[in-house]
């Protein structure tokens, strides 16, 4: 296969199709609309299902219905639309049917703007919908990763009867980069023993998230939790850069992860021994890896395009072993590498403190 120059949104759409997507349901919203548009042309051409729904509520529930058949299904949206999908996501989690959601994040809260952001981290990683459930959340930082992680999202969703989210943002969605698409997989023809299809030749099945008897619901909650433990043990993915001899580490995911890479390289050229850990799965989170990192560096800089939603997870992993610093741009503002570089320089040259919260120190620096 040869490389093609593609927008992130298109790359995800075509990768999903090649991963054997049977049905796509979605609603237009900037900055993910190219994805829906691509599906609207390609899916019918391949004889597969495409519906532009009346709302994100419609879309996620169409996905819910189709997911109950065990066929590969997905939807995509951007932050405000994903908020509307939270009801359906909770039901889907409770019914234990696999699906893929692509969230091309934009600035918020509220209507916000159409610029890139990472402020859906908590909504996706720490719930959003009601009840005890976790999603598998993959955070690409390039077009190639957008392709590879979309394919992986379907495999993991099926393997664990879970929701896989590809968490990307407006800049990755709109950015073009060369990428290599996988070959076309055939559509699934064999389905799991829980999937509905009509009862011909077997006992009837029904799929629901209702367990009126609390002890029965507790059994389901425990099953979901044990499955999550298994996912945590087996599916953590991350990329590290220049960490072998690092005195300092930067942690950032998605588009900020790659912007931080530029800053880390410049800092290295200046003689600062700094490396980068970029979580590829933000859920499950690379807690152990960051905990281990905290035993061998002098300081960790967390950088995000939100107010420190992942910072909380890094803090839990670091557990006070080493000072953590924080730098962010909010509301749809994308940082330039020099902003992160300045933070790396500051970290390398100042007396770092364990006391206080990194977010508070960052806000104080901003005010100064």
């Amino acid at each position: 296969m040869t490389k093609e120059l593609m927008k992130g949104n298109i790359a995800i759409a075509e990768a999903a199709i090649r991963a054997g997507l049977q049905a796509y349901f979605g609603y237009p919203i900037t900055p993910q609309t190219e994805l829906l548009e691509w599906m609207s042309a390609r899916m019918p051409e391949l004889g597969r299902a495409f519906v532009q729904s009346e709302s994100e509520l419609g879309a996620i529930n169409m996905v819910y219905g189709a997911a109950c058949t065990g066929k590969r299904v997905m939807t995509s949206s951007s932050s405000p639309g994903v908020s509307l999908m939270m009801e359906g996501l909770s039901y889907i989690a409770g019914t234990e049917v696999p699906m893929v959601l692509v969230d091309v994040m934009r600035g918020g809260p509220g209507l916000g703007n159409i610029a890139p952001s990472q402020s859906d981290y908590n909504q996706i990683v720490h719930g959003g919908g009601h009840g005890d459930y976790h999603t598998i959340c993959l955070a690409p930082s390039s077009v190639q990763e957008s392709i590879d992680l979309t394919v992986l999202a379907f495999d993991l969703a099926e393997k664990y009867r879970a929701i896989s989210v590809v968490l990307t943002d407006g800049s990755l969605g709109q950015m073009m980069e060369p990428g290599e698409l996988p070959p076309m997989q055939p559509l699934k023809t064999k389905f799991s023993d829980w999937a509905v299809s009509g009862t011909e030749g077997r006992e009837r099945r029904f799929l629901s998230s209702i367990y009126i008897d609390p002890p029965a619901e507790e059994v389901i909650n425990l099953r979901l939790l044990r499955r999550w433990q298994q996912i945590q043990a087996s599916e953590v993915r991350y990329k590290d850069y220049y960490l072998d001899d690092a005195d300092f580490a930067v942690v950032g995911f998605g588009s900020v992860g790659r912007i931080a890479l530029s800053a880390v390289r410049t800092a290295r050229a200046e003689g600062i021994k700094v490396g980068l850990l970029r979580p590829v799965t933000v859920s499950p989170f690379p807690t152990q890896q960051i905990s281990e990192l905290a035993t061998r560096v002098k300081g960790i800089l967390v950088t995000e395009m939100n107010s420190g939603q992942m910072l909380d997870d890094v803090n839990l992993a670091v557990a006070g072993k080493v000072p953590v610093e924080f730098f962010a741009r909010l509301g749809g503002v994308v940082p330039f590498p020099d902003e992160i570089l300045a933070e790396i320089r500051r970290m390398a040259t100042s007396d770092l403190k364990l006391e206080g919260h990194p977010r508070d120190r960052w806000l104080a620096r901003m005010a100064a």
């Binding site: 120059l5 800049s171 950015m175 073009m176 980069e177 790659r258 912007i259 931080a260 890479l261 590498p337």
Partner: protein
Amino acid sequence: MQTEIVISGFGGQGVLFAGQLLSYAAMDRGKNVTWIPSYGPEMRGGTANCTVVVSDEEIGSPLARNPEAVVVMNLPSLDKYEPLVKPGGVLVINQSMVDRKAKRNDIRVVYIKGNDIAEELGNKRLTNMVMIGGLLANHPFLTLEDMEKALKEHLPAKHQKLLEVNYQALRRGAEYKA
């Protein structure tokens, strides 16, 4: 080796497509490349710019605060980007749309009457290619031949008849050296 280029102008001046052609040419040369657009909320008109980063290694940020080369197609773009060009970098100005000179003397500045040349060639939509010719003549991270190949392979089928005149536009622009 890494270089960053910004192309900026009004929507409709072919700014985004010019950046994409540079990206195709870089990709075909086996380079890593990113192309990222930025535009206002208007569907038509308004301002548009894109950043192209070309590198031999994995690209970090697709945006650069101080790009090595900037092509400005109109006055607002000159006002915005002139202060941002990396010292020693290149600024290519579409003199047909800009009525002032650059103020900086720590960068190389190229003046090209892009629209006038394009109209001489019979199609004002060739302005972007004239400007790209000027960019590559002064910042040769790709050759004109690389661009001609990219044009041949990626110009939409209905515009393939305009290939030769696009080549001419590139070469006319390339006559201008800082």
